[in-house]
């Protein structure tokens, strides 16, 4: 093969431009490309002529919501993105945060919702593949995957099929490429019945001074296509990801990409090797909008032009048009820019990894991307304007009419819910809540969690994932250095309050890392919302971004990367606002990281912010009982959050924390029960006495007359109501004296003994002066039976 691109390209004629006389055909063409009339005017102004079909396809993809963030960009600008720990912020393939010494972690979360609903196995698999490429094309070696899944109600006919295949797709891809899947979250809600969410996150290690960015530098340098041959799969995936669904969508399988994790593994090894050897000038994976977006992005960053000859692109089906070649989203492909003299050594490495490669173009000084195919200039587009002049919308916002709850109304609602729970029985409610998340173990069983030999805590530990880094790049003083990571969202809170619900996601993430003995450092987000053209949805988006921004500011965990997935609606029904949060934190010494389960006996303490009452708003128990109006979600005390996180960090460093878990869905009682049930070998029980805690943290008891009527109301609220900033903690007995001062110094938090861990496998819950026993039950009986619904 010739190592240069030569040909009489300047003599090739421009392809036929489209006819843009107003007619139904033209309108249909724009509609099918999701280009509005005003956007078309912009295109004409940029080109000074009507576009060719290939150019129309390029603009459609580049200006899709997925690639251009046109609806969200004005809002995303408000997010805090800076901090001394931030090495690379948003805008690159992934964000990078410094952990220790020269050791940095590159990470990002990305959605693959629409493909996963249509073809769950391939959709989920290629979602994992895409985020892995984003991370390793910066030169980072992936070492952990997480995923956040949201499915419709379990009784919905499609849910089981989706869960089974999404999980298999994620597992097969991650297992094969050899990156452990260490955490994430799964939940079920009716708003996802017609639109499931599959968000994947990858973390990679990288040397601070060797971070690679995708520039097409150096005119005369060669553009090299690497990886799988191009087929017709995934054409217009980026546009589809920016489209709303109708209930027929699950039949449109033609735009689905097909993944090959083996190829990706080869691409991973080859990419890291050529970067390590300094053989490439620029590199970009071909993700959404395929060759088009990688070419424009690389040219744009370097402010250069590119000449691309599509005749040289390896193809796997015959007779593909320029339009198809440009927009195909065939997986496991990279675009590299190299100096001509590097072609031979590059080729040698790629051959060894069984990867096809072809020189398909060169870097030019034209400032334009010029694409030739079979003797015709198919596209000739200036690079700057396609990104700089991309449409940006400040879409109308309409706040949803706010639900205002007076204190008395909240109390009344709490009493109603408590009465319902009392009628049902606390134990019955608890059993119900234990089954609510479904059989998550059966999902984790299918993921390789241990490969890489770093997993100190995987998904089975039920807290933040903790990985022992064992890295030469880290400060040698920190041989036991770890990274803690989580990915989550509480969509029930976001439904009630899109601002505070989103803020809760960030605080919960930081809290889970704190409970694992770490400190949250930086955040990635994947903003899943409905149709932004609906002003109420646009309001949810704006609120969510501000909620995330506030929490990241307060907790100093800036946003370093992210992704937006809009138009998640089916037949006009939007999903619950679902801003997924992924966080990465540092653990100084993995040996001191406390367990989220019970690992020995001792007293059980509650840490909870002063002055905040537990709430039923957006709670798991409210969902289980089918109550939609149940008051506000828990308020957040930033002073309380920061203080308890610092407190836990100090306790961890003192080696005093035996077990620690943040109180999450289902409140104190569900959290305590989960701690017991997931302990090994299940020989322990708890004895909880909620009197003290109830009086301190639930303010209901003040109204004597009412509380007599329903004597157990504050205790039920205390047990099953949900909280922010709260943890259950077991201390190492011998370290308790060391902690006294720290505990006494707590200004914004209560630190209260609420029970003991017992050696008998019986759990008991007691409260009230009369010492009546709400329940005493054997652990076995509390183990979820998952009879109602199983994911397998």
């Amino acid at each position: 093969m010739s190592t240069s691109i030569s040909g009489d390209y300047s003599s090739y004629p421009l392809a036929k431009t489209i006819c843009d006389q107003p007619c139904s055909e033209f309108s249909e063409l724009l509609r099918s490309h999701k280009i509005s009339d005003t956007e078309y005017v912009r295109i004409r102004n940029i080109l000074n002529r009507p576009p060719t079909m290939a150019e129309l396809g390029i603009f459609s993809a580049m200006w899709s919501e997925h690639c251009s963030y046109k609806s969200s960009r004005v809002h995303l600008k408000r997010l805090p993105t800076k901090g001394p720990q931030v090495v690379v912020g948003p805008g690159e393939n992934a964000g990078v945060v410094r952990i220790s010494g020269k050791l940095c972690v590159a990470f990002k979360m990305e959605s693959h919702n629409h493909p996963s609903y249509i073809e769950p196995y391939q959709g989920a698999a290629t979602g994992v593949g895409g985020i892995l490429r984003d991370v390793f094309c910066m030169g980072a070696r992936p070492f952990a995957n997480l995923n956040c899944l949201r499915f419709g109600e379990r009784i919905h006919p499609r849910t089981k099929y989706l869960v089974t295949n999404v999980v298999k797709g994620i597992g097969d891809y991650g297992n094969c490429i050899g990156v452990p899947t260490v955490g994430g979250s799964v939940s079920y809600h009716k708003s996802y019945n017609g639109n499931c969410l599959v968000n994947a996150m990858t973390l990679g290690t990288i040397h601070e001074d060797q971070i690679f960015k995708g520039f097409a530098r150096g005119p005369g340098n060669l553009v090299v296509y690497v990886g799988s041959a191009t087929g017709r799969d995934g054409i217009h995936g980026a546009t589809m990801a920016s489209d709303r669904f109708d209930s027929q969508a699950s039949k449109s399988k033609t735009t689905i990409q097909v993944g090959d994790p083996f190829k990706e593994k080869l691409l991973l090894e080859a990419t890291l090797e050529v970067l390590d050897k300094g053989l490439v000038v620029g590199l970009q994976d071909m993700g959404a909008a395929g060759l088009t977006s990688s070419a424009f992005e690389m040219a744009g960053r370097a402010e250069n032009g590119l000449l691309i000859d599509l005749d040289k692109v390896p193809i796997r089906t015959s007779a593909m048009s320029a339009y198809e070649l440009l927009l195909s989203e065939s997986q496991e492909r990279m675009l590299m820019v190299i100096k001509p003299e590097c072609w031979e050594p590059l080729k040698e490495i790629l051959d060894r990894w069984l990867l096809d490669a072809a020189i398909i173009g060169k870097v030019t000084t034209t400032g334009r991307v010029q694409i030739y195919h079979q003797g015709i200039l198919e596209a000739d587009v200036p690079v700057g304007p396609i990104t700089d002049d991309a449409p940006q919308y400040t879409r109308p916002i309409k706040a949803r009419s706010e639900e205002v709850w007076s204190e008395e109304e909240i109390r009344q609602s709490d009493r109603d819910i408590c009465a319902k729970i009392a009628k049902w029985g606390v134990l019955e409610s608890l059993k119900n809540l234990m089954e609510e998340p479904g059989d998550i173990t059966s999902i984790h069983l299918q993921y390789d969690k241990h490969i890489g030999n770093r997993t100190v805590k995987g998904p089975e530990s039920q807290g933040a994932a903790v990985l022992w880094m064992k890295s030469d790049l880290a400060d040698p003083q920190e041989p036991w250095l770890g990274v803690a990571t989580v990915a989550l969202c509480n969509e029930r809170y976001c439904l009630v309050d899109p601002f505070w619900g989103a803020a809760h996601g960030v605080t919960k993430a930081a809290r889970m890392i704190a409970a694992a003995g770490g400190k949250g450092l930086a955040t990635t987000d994947c903003l899943n919302y409905g149709n932004p053209e609906n002003p109420e949805v646009m309001w949810e988006i704006s609120q969510g971004i501000d909620g995330i921004g506030l929490a990241c500011q307060e907790l100093q965990t800036p946003i370093v990367s992210g992704n937006v997935s809009l138009y998640n609606e089916t037949d006009g029904q939007s999903i619950a606002p679902t801003p997924m949060i992924g966080m990465v934190g540092k653990v100084d010494d993995v040996r001191l990281s406390p367990s989220a389960t019970i690992v020995g006996g001792g007293d059980l303490y509650l840490i909870t912010p002063k002055g905040l009452s537990p709430r039923f708003g957006g709670s798991l128990v409210a969902k289980a009982m089918g109550v939609s109006k149940c008051g506000p979600i828990p308020a957040i005390s930033w002073d309380g959050e920061r203080e308890s996180m610092n407190f836990l960090l100090t306790m961890t460093r003192l080696g005093a924390l035996q077990s620690c878990r943040d109180i999450g869905s289902g409140g104190l009682l569900v959290t305590a029960t989960k701690m017991i049930l997931s302990s090994d070998p299940n020989q322990e029980g708890y004895q909880l006495d909620l009197d003290g805690a109830a009086i301190q943290s639930a303010q209901l008891g003040q109204d004597q007359k009412l509380s007599q009527k329903l004597s157990s109301t504050p205790e039920i609220l205390c047990a099953l109501g949900e909280r922010s900033g709260s943890y259950l903690v077991v201390l190492h007995q011998d370290k308790i004296p060391l902690c006294r001062d720290e505990i006494q110094d707590l200004k914004y938090n209560h630190f209260t003994k609420i029970g003991v861990i017992t050696k008998s496998a019986t759990s008991a819950l007691s409260w009230s002066q009369s010492d009546s026993m709400p329940f005493q039950v054997s652990i076995k009986e509390l183990l979820p039976s998952f009879q109602k619904w199983s994911t397998t």
Partner: protein
Amino acid sequence: MSTKLAIIQFPGSNCDQDILEAFTRHFGVMSTFVWHTENRLPKVDGVIIPGGFSFGDYLRSGALAAHSPIMQEVKSFGRAGGPVLGICNGFQILTESMMLPGALLRNKNRKFICKYLYLQAHGGRSSYHQELAGRTLAMPIAHGEGNYYIDEEGYKTLEGEGQILFKYAASPQDREGGNPNGSKGSIAGIVSSNGRVMGLMPHPERATDQILGGSSDGLLVLKAFLNTTM
């Protein structure tokens, strides 16, 4: 002279770094990677075939790797009494290349399974394993095709000749009993009739530090292998 191991690398191998690290960090044993296209093994005391998805499990897991040039060398090495250890995909490659009897089929539940479980160690006639005999070891598995199959006659031979090294053992957490994948006789690992070529589905290289999953029992298995190379 210190022990030297060769770790065979195929496209798609993904436990190669883990096994290298385990031998270096815990035993100070140096290993060299040997690429699948090589026609010669360097001078080594033992050969490791690591886990992964060699050639993407195309055709059948291990099938393509079994026909790569280096495997001819590994076969002669094993026949001549050189110690060979195949883990997970390495075990699959060993059965595909007929260095070990039987075959590894899809897990009975047709799903990939990754979890910690217990192994009952049998000494058999392997010089590797006399020290381990009778012990129960905790170790993780991670495979989709670990369902060991051999016909009745072959099974009797394995049993009679002491070629069964590990069987899955029941644990308190495992409600389905000790056999995670449907293996014949709960077999998790076997050794060749000359007692030198060993294959097992569980990952000893992942059970090397208490901090990672609570078990360092894998070290015993790696140590047993090293003893054989002496």
